[in-house]
Amino acid sequence: MSLGNDVISIVHLVERTEDRKQRYFNKTYTENEIRIIKTLSKQHVEGFFWALKESAYKAYFRVIPKVIMSPKQFEVLTFDEKGATVKTPAGLMHSKVEFTEEYIHAVCSTRENGVNEIEYNVFQFKENFYQEVKTKIASYQNCGVDQVEISKDENNVPTLKLKNQQYLLSLSHDYNWGSYAYQKQSISV
């Protein structure tokens, strides 16, 4: 299993002129995605699609640690209120998107309904993102912050060590918004 998550600060979404929006769309979306977007009346639709693509990219990168700078290779195939599916070079990702007036957050799994197996949280932070993540997880898990460790492998992919057990972890932050997602089931004892 792999997972990913991404948070986007709505206030920092770039406003684009119509001409620029067209050029942005052509570089970012496949024809099928543009077709889906045109059927939606959602505000900040670019933010939704980017959060989906970026979270899928993180899940992909854990499986195949090769940098890909092409957003079109992470294609949103379906999108509705229940969730979305995103095609990636590492297979299909099953996603869920949530939003408020301030942020958009996407979380995804390689497994169908796998999002239900993921613990995730979105929060505001002021200074140390990693410390804030550890504090939030410790609070949720009812343990000391010293029992929460975050490490990264040689590809900068994070792992969570919680009460001496390891979990797949995905981190994201955009300006003062941060988020994390980790697999509920540990990967080792």
């Binding site: 050029r23 570089k27 980017w50 700078m69 955009d174």
Partner: protein, 85 residues
């Protein structure tokens, strides 16, 4: 157009998107746009659009994929500017 001139112009373009100004202060050819400067990936295409406008060039999808570091980006821009004559 000289390489150094392109690099300086690129730095001005990416500055508004940078979230780590300390890293921006130490920008070099090996600087990674996303990892080091903490440019949000959601803004990467906007950087590309700004570059196209500033240099009056068009960067195709294949070339965008190569723009990982400052060096990669300068190489890409240089190639496009040269091709445009």
């Amino acid at each position: 157009m000289e390489r150094e001139e392109i690099k300086n112009k690129l730095a001005e373009i990416i500055k508004p998107y940078v979230q780590d100004m300390d890293a921006f202060g130490n920008i070099s050819e090996t600087t990674d746009l996303l990892q080091d400067l903490k440019i949000n990936s959601a803004h990467l295409i906007d950087v590309v659009l700004d570059v196209e406008e500033a240099f009056d060039i068009e960067i195709d999808d294949e070339s965008v994929e190569k723009m990982i570091t400052v060096k990669d980006s300068v190489d890409t821009i240089l190639a496009c500017v040269t091709a445009a004559g």
